[in-house]
Symmetry: C2
């Protein structure tokens, strides 16, 4: 397990510090998008700004992507290994309004519609709110 995490970092040329390993492991285990506060709560003794900067480093190296789910707090979720956060990598996110958890629906790619004349798309953020399978 530890190897897998370290490999993920190596793949993106990010030095494996203790904090980074922890955050990455956490994101892998939870299998959903987490906010800064949620992450902070899971660690107890780690500083929020350190986690913030860890996540920033991760973003810059395509390890995680940010999700704006309208909850007020930005959520962070793991990217696939071959992700470069392009329009093609964007996928739908799902916010359960009951448990407040946000999931990546990686198997549900975003279909970009034809836009009005002169409009060009670079990035898409598609969020669906509803009830997840656990809360049904």
């Amino acid at each position: 397990m530890k190897d897998v995490i370290e490999n993920k970092l190596k793949l993106r040329s990010v030095k494996p510090t203790a904090m980074r390993l922890l955050v990455l492991q956490c994101l892998m285990e939870q299998n959903r998008a987490l906010s800064l506060n949620e992450l902070e709560a899971l660690f107890e003794n780690a500083d929020k700004s350190t986690i913030f900067r860890t996540l920033k480093t991760f973003q810059e190296n395509y390890l995680v992507h940010r999700i704006n789910d309208g909850s007020g707090a930005i959520k962070y979720a793991l990217c696939d290994d071959d992700c470069i956060c392009s329009l093609e990598d964007n996928h739908i996110h799902f916010l359960c309004t009951k448990c407040e958890k946000t999931y990546c629906l990686k198997d549900t790619p975003i279909t970009t519609p034809s836009l009005p004349n002169g409009f060009r798309a670079n990035f898409a953020n598609y969020l669906i709110e509803g009830i997840c399978s656990t809360c049904t």
Copy 2:
């Protein structure tokens, strides 16, 4: 023009105060989604909290909908007259990353994909970022 605005309010049983007429007119004229700060700047002498509460009233009566375009500030845009802000009323929004303006693409309804088993959709927020026709 004034009649049109007053009618819109009457249609939703919202009392036409000066502030409400102004805000509604503004949203109609701009033909795009505006943030609280943008609205405040357009009026100069009106208080932000009044505008906020005006918009809240509008939301509650399906006159405007909120848009989370990831800019940090919530934007507000006019609803159609027959809107009840249901999943079917949701449409795509477009944020131009150059001029920072957000548009409703009312003619581009959101197609909700088939979700994983057990997931049920109640609301969708689909934002596309890119360059608008004016900035191309």
